[in-house]
């Protein structure tokens, strides 16, 4: 199986500090992967590189069947290629309704002229309704998203990601700020999403990762320390020394 995303030999330096050091990583088109690592291991910088927010000093990042390079593309272009990103804190547009938020995210032509003349078709509104129902916001479409609870905002953002129909989903600490019941729902959702697309989850919570039941990549000081099943990496003496040992 060829990889959907291939990161090889990537390095980034911020003011002399090596945030990412010769990092290589790849993920298939329908795979769930968890990334763990202590603070400062480079998890967020890794996501920034893939989504175009940070330019690496060296290395290659390629995406898709034709292995197009993501370096040199801006964030918007990379998002249109099919990479979605979920931030740690819910970032929805609080001044707009749930419906407006979902319409914004709906997969469609993003050029200003196309957007200017875009008017909702019945199919679009059905999709918005279906997405909202999937995350339990079916009856909240006309509420301003700023009025939603923290958990509901997380769900709205997840629905927005689904609306984008990404091929690769980067999720930063999805369980933060969720109730235990919501965590279970999130786990189930991520597992089912990974059946049709690639999902990368960055998480601190070991219990959550255990439930995801997937391959784990351990980052340390900007490079991959170990990779394999959760049991495999937790037995790795290096991993225990730098990460688990301290926790």
């Amino acid at each position: 199986m060829s990889a959907l995303l291939e990161v090889s030999g990537v390095s980034v330096t911020f003011d002399g500090f090596r945030a990412i050091n010769n990092l290589s990583f790849s993920i298939g088109p329908a795979e769930l992967r968890a990334i763990i690592g202590p603070n400062g291991a480079g998890k967020t910088t890794f996501m920034d590189i893939v989504t175009g927010k940070t330019r690496p000093d060296a290395g290659r990042v390629t995406f898709g069947e034709r292995s197009i390079s993501l370096l040199g593309m801006n964030e918007a272009r990379i998002a249109r290629e099919g990479i979605g990103r979920k931030f740690q804190r819910p970032t929805v547009f609080e001044d707009q309704t749930v419906e407006d938020n979902l319409i914004l995210a709906l997969k469609a032509n993003r050029s200003p002229w196309a957007v200017l003349f875009w008017r909702p078709k019945a199919a679009d509104m059905d999709r918005v309704q279906a997405l909202a129902e999937e995350v339990g916001l079916g009856d909240q479409l006309h509420r301003k998203s700023g009025e939603l609870s923290h958990g509901q905002k997380q769900w709205l953002e997840i629905a927005m990601l689904l609306a984008q129909e990404p091929r690769l989903l980067l999720v930063d600490e999805p369980a933060a700020g969720m109730t235990p019941a919501e965590r279970e729902q999130t786990t189930a959702l991520l597992v089912s999403l990974a059946k049709t697309r690639a999902v990368v989850v960055v998480e601190h919570d070991m219990e959550f990762i255990r439930r995801l039941n997937c391959r784990v990549t351990v980052l340390h000081e900007g490079s991959v320390l170990a990779e394999g099943s959760l049991d495999h990496v937790t037995r790795d003496p290096q991993v225990i020394a730098v990460y688990l040992g301290r926790g």
């Binding site: 989504t51 918007a76 547009f93 001044d95 957007v115 875009w118 009025e147 109730t179 965590r183």
Partner: protein
């Protein structure tokens, strides 16, 4: 915040006006206003309103139009531009060139005709150049006046020159991701540079003399200013009405949703796949062209334009009007511009009596700027929604207030403030 955020799920079955009731109300008010002013004017009515006051009202409508543009760029897209009055004045300069050229041409042809022999085209153009540029010690028509003889060409330039300037400036600024106060400073620098350039005599636009006599429309020799003032009032009202409808349409759809999202969190909009810089450039250029259109209608009513009109203070006033009227809602911008600019002309007219306060007297002309400044600070601090916020109060619309840090995982459904209550 604004209008146009209303329900849209059954979008296809609802007409534009059903979704934007404020647009219909606004058009009705504007039509009624125009009709009443016409019926009270000297030209078509009972003569209750003087011609100069009709002109003031017509100019106010143009200021309302440029305030609409400012609201789109600042209130909706969140870009505080301090350069839009420069685009407004540039539009005025471009139409002023034609007005002055064509009017001077009439006078020169008439004067030469008294000599007996018909004047040659060279004599006419020489005469025009001497008439217009004698004041800056020149008798040649600069190259930028090449199209001044043609109304359609000069009208095209009136929109194209500010549009292209906005496009180039915006492309440079947005491409480097200059945002916030830095962008405001940059736009202000552009305005100042343009004004300083136009102050020079060799800029080709008569330096600090500016262009004058613009109230005299060429080709309408015998039409009195009474009539012309009402015609311009109609034209300004029409432009304002159409501008309002066009912008209401723009902001009510997905485009409005995107630019409000850019205002609130542009990084997030990028990760949704929208090219934020292209949208900003689009809005910047569109609003510059609208501002120029307003200028085209304003300066024939003002009669004179000079580089002082481009001073950065003019653009700051524009921001103050929109802030006082209420950002992020179109009618707010119109109310702010009309209310503050009319009050300004009242207080600075010198007709209000001073108020004696013991040893000093409150002189309105001197103190108006101070009062306006205090009002601006008060609105910003106490009523950020401006006058438009009053309409929310009538409709019992309350803003969502769930901001504050999220609580820990297990209290995920609560926000800091709610937990304290």
């Amino acid at each position: 915040m604004g209008d146009g955020a209303g329900p849209r799920s059954d979008g296809k079955s609802k007409s534009f006006f059903a979704q934007n009731p404020s647009a219909l109300i606004f058009i009705a008010f504007l039509a009624a206003f125009t009709l009443i002013v016409t019926l009270l004017s000297e030209a078509y009515g009972v003569g209750f309103l003087s011609t100069s006051f009709v002109k003031t009202l017509g100019k106010t409508l143009c200021l309302c139009l440029v305030a609409l543009a400012m609201d789109l760029i600042w209130g909706y897209a969140g870009i505080l531009s301090l350069g839009h009055m420069a685009f407004f004045a540039l539009g005025g300069y471009m139409i002023g060139m034609w007005l002055m050229y064509a009017r001077t041409e009439e006078i020169v042809v008439q004067a030469l005709a008294q000599g007996g022999l018909p004047a040659t085209p060279e004599e006419v153009s020489q005469g025009i150049a001497t008439q217009i540029f004698g004041v800056v010690g020149s008798s040649d028509l600069p190259a930028i006046w090449a199209f001044a003889h043609s109304l359609p060409l000069q009208l095209l330039l009136a929109l194209a020159v500010p549009g292209v300037l906005a496009l180039v400036f915006g492309w440079l600024a947005f491409r480097s991701r200059v945002t916030g106060v830095y962008l405001s400073i940059l736009t202000q620098a552009m305005t100042l540079a343009l004004a300083l350039y136009l102050f020079q005599n060799d800029s080709g636009l008569r330096g600090n003399n500016g262009l004058s006599g613009l109230q005299n429309l060429p080709g309408l020799g015998d039409a009195s200013q009474d009539l012309v003032s009402v015609w311009f009032l109609w034209a300004s009202a029409l432009a304002l009405g159409l501008g309002y409808l066009a912008l209401a349409w723009v902001v009510s759809g997905k485009f409005g949703s995107v630019i409000r999202a850019i205002r609130d969190d542009e990084a997030r909009v990028r990760f949704l796949g929208y090219a934020v810089e292209t949208y900003k450039l689009f809005v910047f250029t569109l609003t510059a062209v609208i501002a120029a259109l307003a200028g085209v209608l304003y300066y024939p009513q003002a009669g004179i334009i000079n580089p002082a009109e481009l001073a950065p203070i003019a653009s700051i006033y524009l921001a103050v009007w929109v802030a006082i009227g209420g950002r992020g809602r179109l009618y707010g911008a119109v109310i702010g511009a009309a209310f503050v600019s009319l009050l300004s002309s009242l207080f600075t007219s010198g007709r209000l009596p001073d108020i004696p306060l013991g040893p000093v007297a409150l002189n309105w002309v001197d103190w108006w700027l101070v009062i306006l400044g205090l009002a601006f600070v008060a609105v910003t601090l106490l009523a950020p929604k401006g006058i438009g916020g009053l309409f929310d109060r009538f409709q019992h619309i309350r803003p969502p207030d769930r901001k504050g840090a999220a609580l820990g995982p297990n209290d995920g459904a609560l926000q800091e403030q709610e937990a304290r209550e």
